[in-house]
């Protein structure tokens, strides 16, 4: 009787509630010959499925969650498949989403020798317990990001990195290259530090342009060499060393403007440090994942994207620098002040990267 009454009291009420139903967040990204992944599942849902609140006090503690790590892995990964590869569960972390705390299951996906052209994803988490549950997928394969909503109506999905034509892949990677130059401040600052003195050394435009051309070409050739070597796995360097050296190169290039050591042969400096920057580009490319049969297309596409981004910066910089080169603004503020600022910023990065700290200044 009580049940009936509670129901009836909802009469004319509660017909239009707003809500946050159950979702999980599944992220996949390429790594080496396989994939790495992260799966965020709400603690509320795991509690309903396997029970987490061991002491029954209505609060889930980290200790209670940790104690169930194996059980959670076994439950969840029995309901996710990435054929023909094998999922290997990893660390358990925690994150907050808008509707509460989530268990973060990290995992790797091993595919043997090479990442196959197509993977079949099958998702059936909570399909038996809550048909309204959805898995929100974001997969990054190659330079392409794929998103999908998985659930009982759509439990299977074909994931393919090579579903795109060579031209499309080339453009995908070129776009990533441009994007990386645009957001990769260290590369930009290095280039600008080398370009700042170009318009001051000579009164005419042609020699200044020639100087810029030499610097940019030397930088490009150098980083193309190491990018290719690293991407083809001929040479590999630890990323902390590479990142620290890149920061150091920016510091030195900027300081060279304030206390000139190298003047005529700046293109040589660009070449030498360009070799280091190439390793930095290679790590970005590795994060994107490289399609096995279109390796060259991806490599060339990415590299040309980097060059295109670089040329845009030069094209924007040179005319302005040339036009204002006699002004106090350019000589004191931009050249001296700018170089000092770049040196300072890059020095911060260098300290952070060498000692693996977060200074939080920039």
């Amino acid at each position: 009787m009580r049940i009936l009454l509670v129901l009836v009291l909802s009469l004319f009420a509660g017909l239009c509630k707003a809500h946050k139903p159950s979702d999980s967040y599944l992220t996949l990204g390429a790594e080496g010959h396989g994939l790495r992944g992260q799966w965020d599942i709400a603690l509320r849902d795991l509690e309903h499925a396997i029970g987490l609140d061991a002491d029954g006090d209505g609060a889930i503690t980290w200790g209670e969650l940790r104690a169930k790590h194996r059980e959670i892995d076994a439950y969840a990964f029995a309901r996710l498949a990435l054929r023909p590869c094998a999922i290997q569960p990893g660390a358990l972390l925690v994150d907050q989403h808008t509707d509460g705390a989530y268990a973060v299951l990290q995992f790797t996906v091993a595919c043997g020798e090479a990442l196959p052209g197509e993977l079949e994803l099958e998702y059936s988490l909570f399909a038996d317990l809550d048909p309204t549950h959805r898995g929100l997928l974001r997969a990054r394969l190659g330079a392409r990001t794929l998103t999908a909503v998985l659930g009982p109506e759509r439990p299977k999905l074909a994931l393919s990195a090579e579903g795109r034509s060579g031209v499309e892949q080339f453009l995908d990677y070129a776009r990533e290259g441009v994007w990386h130059i645009w957001i990769g401040f260290d590369h930009l600052l290095f280039l600008i530090s080398l370009l700042l003195p170009a318009v001051l050394a000579t009164p005419r435009f042609a020699p200044a342009l020639w100087d810029v051309f030499k610097v940019v070409t030397a930088f490009t050739v150098a980083h193309s060499i190491t990018l290719a070597l690293a991407a083809l796995a001929v040479v590999s360097l630890p990323s902390r060393l590479v990142e620290s050296a890149i920061a150091a190169s920016v510091v030195l290039a900027a300081l060279n403007n304030l206390w000139p050591v190298v003047q005529r042969g700046r293109w040589l400096v660009a070449f030498a440090f360009g070799l280091i920057h190439g390793f930095g580009f290679a790590s970005v490319l590795a994060d994107l994942g490289l399609p096995q049969e279109n390796l060259l297309v991806a490599l060339v596409g990415f590299n040309l994207g980097v060059e295109a981004g670089q040329l845009c910066v030069v094209a924007a910089f040179l005319p302005i620098a040339y036009a204002t080169r006699h002004t106090w603004m350019y000589r004191r503020m931009v050249f001296v002040g700018g170089s000092a600022l770049i040196a300072l910023v890059a020095a911060t990065w260098m300290i952070e990267r060498v000692f693996d700290l977060k200074l939080g200044l920039i």
């Binding site: 009580r2 049940i3 009936l4 009454l5 509670v6 129901l7 009836v8 009291l9 909802s10 009469l11 004319f12 009420a13 509660g14 017909l15 239009c16 509630k17 707003a18 809500h19 946050k20 139903p21 979702d23 967040y25 992220t27 992260q38 965020d40 603690l43 509320r44 849902d45 509690e47 309903h48 609140d53 029954g56 006090d57 209505g58 609060a59 889930i60 503690t61 980290w62 200790g63 969650l65 940790r66 660390a91 972390l93 925690v94 994150d95 808008t98 509707d99 509460g100 973060v104 038996d128 317990l129 809550d130 048909p131 309204t132 959805r134 929100l136 974001r138 990001t145 998103t147 909503v149």
Partner: protein
Amino acid sequence: MKLVQGCLLAGAFSASALAAPYLPKDDGAVLERLPLRRADPAAAELRQLRTAAATRPDDPGAAAALARRYFELAMAEGDPRYVGYAEAALRPWRSDDAPAEVLFVRGLLKQYRHDFAGALRDLQGALQRDPRHIGARSWRAAIYMVGADYAAAREECRALEPQAGELLATGCRASVQAATGKARQAYGELKAALDEHADAPSEIRLWVLTRLAEFAWRLDEPAAAERHFRDAMALGLRDNYLLAAYADFLLEQRRPKEVSVLLRNWSNSDTLLLRLALAGKAAQLPETQAQVKSLGERFAASALRGERLHLAEEARFLLDLKGDPKAALAAASENWKTQREPRDAAVLLEAALAAREPKAAAPALRWLDESGFESARLRRLAAQLR
């Protein structure tokens, strides 16, 4: 469409990416508070029902009882997860010749998904098997009310009378009266019925008091409305709808700080989070921004799932918190296609006014004229639009 979905999904991920995954340092760190403790009577009841349904998989009664309990929890807490659990419990019975109890609960779940036609059909099926099913009859009336089909609602109330107690039957009838220009009479009759049945169970009292508060508010008698709201709150039952209605009342009375206190622990419910944010904005509280952001993420997340079950709330959110009257009007117009209650009309009228598109308000204005609904606020809005 794919693009929109992609952008939304990217947004959902970037929003979640802001808080990076972490490794808690202390085993005792509390990560999540559950709605129920193991010792709570409600939890014990659920455990019992779950066990019964699991041990008797062929018994539709056990499944329906479990589904029904979950649905009640969803209504009380404003938590949609329980609706999913209820659907799972009913999964084995999908045909139309299921027992009355299964059809009844299935109808409730359908109306929750805004499949009103399907819900009416299932509830009718339940009544064919059990003509004295009070719940099925009441919900049919409620669904007709939402669609502003007052004649049909009145018919259901009449059919309810022989089975239901006097208080419930009067409440049903009064709800229709109060929506069709006879709020004064409805208020008087329902209040008299409540006084007569002082011993009614608290669930029924809560429902009747909420109706009385709404009627009094509609009649522009805030002191009486306040008294009924407080009496309903004093019953100590958890009810999402009551809290939303009381919060709306306090907001209109320009008492936002009381709303912030009232709904302090209810941010899990989207309907109530919306009220919290509206109150925060009115009282210029610092947490408002975070609440608005959270609401935006929740609306984006449900759009991503292809669900828009909360269009009226979304319209209110867009209008009052995001200052986007055009988008608000689109949501409010879409909402009006299926839901035609006073608050649906209010947001449509306000959005049309703010977006300077009085024509878009025409369906709500027509409803206002035809129903004779009494509300000083809606009348004022209508006058401005005309």
